[in-house]
């Protein structure tokens, strides 16, 4: 604020924070949206995300290329998704509980295998500076945008389009709305859900790769602050709409940046309460839009969590 932008530093800091913090949210929520649109819920994306962060970092250290790291993370994320999808196709298996188990397993395995990679430094993912038109360093740093953020935005658009207009998108939605209808059409719901969970896992792992390869840009056991767990809430918040996921992720990122931004201009009251802002917001919206007599608007019919 000593640079003369004064109170404008707050919205700028929130914007910068939103862009920086939201990228993992974008990928996890898009991944979870694909899985949930197929009628299954994967609560284990937190484990997938952290394992993806570890894999991306380790592979980037060994190969020297952050992009190979991201690809490796996607592969492991898909494997986690396949395991979840395979186990859940058996009768009487609870997909929510399996998700929690996969989360614990993924976290444990990531910490176990990631131990040797806490020290080495991995190459970071590049970012693009879009703030060159401004003389203010704050604006320039706020508009330094990582490639993955842009990819996430484009992916949200593409998924939104694909859900309505492509064969795969329609198959996914039929399976998600009614297993019986899908079977009548000659589709195998278990196979579709297996692939949807794998795709969801691969995307969640990209979110993890962003954490370890860009911001905060290191690998340690506290790398995730629950982004993977929040994916489920985010997707409901976004009404299973990919563009909604993108906007909700920005909102979550911005809300998380509110506390530090206000602190930078001297407002320290309730600093810790602002961390709760995204959660309070989600809960408030859930309360306002839920009803005991009908399912949530836009919810896939076969999804257990909305019944």
């Amino acid at each position: 604020m000593e640079d003369g932008i004064g109170i404008w530093g707050v919205p700028l800091a929130i914007l910068a924070g939103a862009i920086r913090v939201s990228t993992p949210f974008i990928f996890v929520s898009l991944g979870e949206a694909i899985t949930e649109r197929s009628g299954r819920i994967n609560l284990g994306l937190e484990g997938t995300l952290v394992f993806g962060a570890m894999t991306a970092y380790a592979v980037a250290v060994m190969s020297g290329s952050p992009y190979i790291g991201v690809l490796a993370a996607m592969a492991t994320g898909a494997i986690f998704g396949l395991v979840h999808g395979f186990i859940c196709k058996f009768p009487k298996v609870n997909d929510i509980a399996i998700g929690i188990a996969m989360m614990q397993f993924g976290l444990g395995l990531a910490f176990f295998l990631g131990k040797p990679f806490i020290q080495p430094v991995a190459p970071r993912l590049p970012s693009i500076s879009l703030g060159g038109w401004s003389d203010l360093p704050q604006v320039q740093s706020a508009l330094t945008i990582n490639v993955l953020f842009i990819v996430g935005g484009l992916l949200a658009l593409a998924l939104w389009w694909a859900f309505r207009n492509t064969r795969i998108g329609l198959i996914l939605r039929v399976v998600g709305d009614s297993s019986d209808a899908a079977r009548a059409m000659g589709l195998n719901p278990d196979t579709v859900r297996l692939l949807a969970t794998a795709a969801g896992g691969a995307l969640a792992a990209i979110g993890g790769a962003y954490l370890s390869l860009y911001y905060p840009g290191s690998w340690n056991e506290g790398i995730s602050s629950g982004q993977g767990l929040m994916a489920v809430a985010l997707v409901i918040f976004a009404r299973w709409n990919p563009i909604g996921c993108f906007l909700a992720a920005l909102l979550f990122g911005g809300a998380g940046a509110l506390g530090p931004a206000l602190q930078s201009v001297g407002v320290t009251q309730g600093y810790y309460l602002f961390y709760a802002a995204p959660y309070v917001l989600t809960l408030a919206i859930l309360i306002a839009t839920s009803s005991p007599t009908r399912a949530l608007v836009g919810a896939p019919g076969a999804l257990s969590i909305t019944k």
Binding site: N94, I98, A101, Q104, L109, F111, Y272, L283, L286, R294
Partner: protein, 374 residues
């Protein structure tokens, strides 16, 4: 979402019909055999993993036994770690009998601990320790009960999914705790780790006589037994099991499903809040960030492994406490990371949940099928 509630009818033991005893035994054997088989399968998978990283699984399991249950010292260590899991396991198991999946017990632990610490502050030196501890326990239980009861309330009256709302409430609880221990309740003397003013030594909840384990273990065991009695022997528990099996049927029978949901979630939260109180009064001495140590999340694991049976929670929690306690020894002796324990827990958890699919598939456990083929 529904959880398969265990509505098996009470055994009809008749002296005139010895085969009834056999049939009863067969039904009882199913969960025991499947659970033990699943644990063995999980250990086998984990052994493969350990072989792949170049260590001997035999050495590992020996060390785990030594670290968890090999000596009186390690048994006490395991029991201490099991104590909070008994209560947080109940926080998941009780609502599960009604078909609800509550995963936010962590929030009730955290706020229960803060409420207990806050309630004690003005009373220290005014009232005798025993009374202050009771007030702390009540404060923690009320706070926890409100927090999880809120998830039940939202579920029944607004249709908000309890799994998600309880998770959100857990995050909100942790933010509230940080707000309070960094603000109004902060002890100015706690510099690096913000905490409330520590309890004086004579106000702490002590150990069970003859053991180096605090009273939390006894409280947890009693809570499990009381919960079992409520669920299996009272009419309220019976109503809850019916509602968990089929909500429509329960409503048609005129059962107060809403009151059951709110009541059982509140009771579940009460136990988690009590776990927070014990953590403050017996372990930490004050409310601080260590309250969010993940007991609430491990409780989910405990409850699912116990198949939401309050009595089965006792051995499961002790087993997990033992696995947890052996982590240090494995790290020192085998040079494996402390996360080894997490990998084992995760593997066991996945395999045991996977084996849920085996229920009802074996003819030997289902006496109804015996006669048909014979």
């Amino acid at each position: 979402m529904t959880i398969q509630a265990n509505l098996s009818s009470e055994p009809v033991l008749s002296t005139r019909n010895p085969s009834a005893v056999l049939e009863w035994l067969a039904r009882q054997a199913e969960p025991v055999v499947i659970s033990l088989g699943a644990i063995l399968a999980g250990l086998a998978l984990f052994s493969i993993f350990i072989v792949l990283v170049g260590k001997s699984p035999i050495d590992l399991f020996k060390l785990m036994y030594t670290g968890g249950f090999g000596s009186w010292f390690s048994i006490q260590n395991s029991l201490s770690r099991a104590a909070p899991l008994l209560l947080t396991g109940l926080c998941v198991a009780l609502p599960a009998r009604l078909g609800l999946v509550i995963i936010g017990g962590e929030g009730a632990v955290v706020l229960g601990g803060v409420a207990a610490a806050a309630a004690a502050l003005p009373l220290i030196g005014v009232l005798p320790p025993a009374i202050v501890l009771v007030i702390m326990a009540v404060a923690g239980m009320i706070m926890g009960g409100i927090w999880i009861g809120l998830a039940g309330l939202l579920r029944h009256y607004r249709g908000v999914n309890e799994t998600i709302s309880s998770l959100l409430l857990a995050y909100i609880a942790i933010a509230l705790m940080n707000h309070v221990i960094e603000g109004v309740l902060r002890d100015p003397a706690s510099l690096n780790k913000p905490s409330t003013t520590p309890l004086p030594a004579d106000y702490m909840l002590g150990n069970i006589p003859g053991m180096d384990v605090n009273w939390g273990l006894a409280i947890g065991v009693v809570a499990c037994i009381v919960s079992w009695i409520i669920i299996e022997t009272t009419s309220v528990g019976f109503a809850a099991r019916i509602a968990g099996g089929n909500v429509r049927a329960a409503q048609i029978q005129g059962l107060p499903v809403g009151q059951l949901i709110v009541g059982f979630t509140a009771l579940a939260g009460t136990f988690a809040g009590l776990a927070g109180m014990v953590e403050v009064a017996a372990v930490q001495g004050s409310a601080n960030a260590s309250l969010a140590a993940g007991y609430g999340y491990t409780g989910i694991l405990v409850a699912f492994l116990a198949r939401h049976n309050p009595l089965a929670i006792i051995p499961v929690a002790i087993l997990l406490g033992g696995i947890d306690a052996s982590g240090g020894l494995i790290q020192r002796r085998l040079g494996l990371p402390d996360a080894t324990v997490l990998v084992l827990q995760g593997t066991l958890f996945i395999v045991i949940l996977f084996c849920e699919t085996l229920y009802g598939r074996f003819k030997m456990f289902n006496p109804d099928l015996w006669k048909r083929s014979a």
